[in-house]
């Protein structure tokens, strides 16, 4: 008993010296750490843990588990984390189909969900929830930005995405802003590795620009094959297509490709410089867009936890919504549907000191929200 008291006093004095949390916070991180999509999950985990480590607060604990990109596994892990680990907040899921399996039931059980990437339209509109926050974007945002960019100088676009919900959201988002003519709208299989048939159609279509949304290995395969095909039409896409996790594998074939993103490593603000330096020091590689999003998600949770107790859901949600953080992205605040309002930029793949990376070209949108916020009754 004496020992316990001593330990408690010590813990109290320690926490009083740092940022005292009203209550300890336990976070459950479910992300993809094995299988083909593991690169994205590892960047998510590392970005998140960087912010937690920088905060150095003993009142916050994170349990991490691998969902192997399988919805049924993600659901099991979420149940276990809620019931036996007693987590207060869930986070980390990369893929929209997994998020749809986990987040609605987690928030229904009174747990917070702070998304680091996946942002399906369903949870941004009529089914928004006061305990569901998205620190990344809404799925359509980056595609909308490329659509807006394509209006300048492209008359006939060939657009392509995988045949699954996020792929359809992608082309919908692109078309919401693009006003020109479409040469073709093509849906490919998820996980497709050979794009010869589609590249041949691009060549024959007479398009003056190509928009592709092919995350992960699909994009690597497409860009390498496109570079060999002799087709000289400019390629553009959302940031994921040319993110830091895939660029080294695509190689020089990616040079010159235009993409949209809320962040690039050359951002000129203090938070971004610090994030970049810390991340490179800790993990010895360049961070991707997924790492930034997860870093901000952790910052948001830390900021809210220093002001309100996580057991008081309304107060904690109100603090989260204030978004009092220094984001590497620069401007960042929450919309009424608790999805970001942020600037979106055009980036270009370049080679700097022998490493492929993205540089910022221009700002496409300022304070951009999403099309679904009006349906959200929060």
């Amino acid at each position: 008993m004496k020992k316990m008291l001593a330990a408690a006093t010590l813990a109290l004095s320690l926490s009083a010296s740092g940022l005292a949390f009203a209550d300890p916070v336990k976070i459950g991180m479910i992300t993809t750490l094995s299988g083909g999509g593991a690169g994205l999950g590892i960047d998510t985990r590392d970005g998140f843990m960087l912010a937690i480590k920088n905060a150095g607060n003993k009142d916050i604990t994170v349990v991490t588990e691998d969902d192997a990109q399988k919805p049924e596994l993600a659901v099991q892990i979420a149940d276990k984390m809620i019931q036996s680990d007693k987590v207060d907040i869930l986070t980390g899921i990369v893929w929209s189909n997994l998020l749809m399996a986990v987040a609605p039931s987690a928030v229904a059980q009174g747990k917070f969900y702070v998304s680091t990437n996946a942002a399906p339209a369903q949870l941004a509109g009529a089914n928004c929830h006061k305990l569901y926050f998205n620190a990344a974007y809404q799925n359509d945002n980056l595609h909308e930005a490329v659509g807006e960019y394509a209006n300048k100088g492209f008359k006939k676009m060939f657009i392509l995405a995988p045949n699954y919900p996020a792929g359809k959201d992608s082309l919908t988002g692109f078309k919401r802003y693009y006003k020109g003519e479409l040469a073709a709208e093509v849906y490919t299989q998820v996980g497709q590795t050979d794009y010869a048939a589609e590249i041949a159609q691009m060549r024959a279509s007479g398009a003056d620009g190509i928009f592709v949304f092919l995350p992960g290995g699909m994009g690597i395969a497409f860009m390498k094959q496109f570079a060999q095909s002799g087709v000289k039409i400019p390629v553009m896409g959302p940031g994921f297509s040319f993110s830091q996790d895939v660029l080294p594998a695509i190689g020089d074939a990616a040079l010159g490709a235009k993409a949209s993103g809320q962040w690039a490593p050359d951002f000129d603000n203090e938070a971004s410089k610090k994030f970049l330096a810390d991340f490179q020091k800790e993990y010895n590689r360049l961070p991707s867009i997924y790492a930034v999003q997860a870093y901000d998600a952790a910052q948001l949770i830390l900021a809210a936890a220093s002001k309100a107790s996580v057991s008081d859901a309304d107060a904690f949600a109100a603090e989260l919504k204030k978004a009092e953080i220094q984001s590497p992205r620069g401007n960042f605040k929450f919309n009424t549907n608790q999805h970001p309002i942020q600037d979106i930029y055009l980036t270009e793949v370049i080679k700097k000191d022998g490493v492929l990376t993205n540089k910022t070209v221009e700002k496409i949108f300022t304070d951009h929200g999403d099309a679904y916020a009006k349906d959200c009754k929060l």
Binding site: G36, A38, T193, A196, A197, Q201
Partner: protein, 307 residues
Amino acid sequence: MTIALALEQLLNGIQLGVMLFLMAAGLTLIFGVMGLINLAHGSLYMVGAFACAAVAAWTGSFWIGLVASLVAAAAAGAIVELAVIRRLYDRDHLDQVLATFALILMFSEGTRWLFGSFPLYLDIPPLLQGAVALPGGTEYPVYRLAIIAAGALVAFGLYMLISRTRLGMRIRAGESDREMIGALGVDIRTLYTVVFALGAALAGFAGAMVGAIQSVQVGMGEPVLILAFVVIVIGGIGSIKGALLGALLVGVTDTMGRFLLPKLMVLFVPPAQAGAIGGAVASMLIYIVMAIILAVKPRGLFPPAHA
């Protein structure tokens, strides 16, 4: 649509078919001789691609990488055969499926442990970079033509090996009657290891060739494995000739379906939906073809004569 585009798509289909043949040949050979269903065949494809990418990055030469992929995949195949597969020949297919599925997981996590989770870089050798002009005015990537040529050479080589050499004779004998060639004094255990390593080397070769134009990443073998199974089921399980024709059929059907179906759908539905519906039907097309072929010829196009 022009003749040139149709010709280009036909070449694309043949190239996909040839690549599938390299996978399916090993799979069907192993099933034909040993009666084993090897789900880990896709992992050997991945081993080939990773070996090629790692060695090419280290030495700077794709060609040394290609040799390394053959050696690594054959070695991995031989080790797996000696350590695990050997114990499975007398078990039923469910045990084989379970054990080889476990091998997939071990290969995947082992590869991640060695190489990390991010995809590796592997580029086409300078000799095969770029595109050449085709009759009709379009260009076609040299590397894809090289894949077609390599696949044709392998098909010819396999034919010669099986029909003209002593090893081939033993393989054919092993397919017809396992007990009998054992009784005639052929060392059947060594034969099985050699056949398994040969099949693995073919998969590794395919992985390395394809790795240069795709993503070299953990789990890259499984999508191809499914197509390879479709190929050998269509071709007749155990038949190399069936695997070749099945692979070409699947390759051309899949490519032409992806290309033509969305265009065909435009005649029936609005263009906005035609892409999505056409794409969805195209992705089912090879399975529809498989179902039709199995309805007419339940044992595939070229079932081996004996079984």
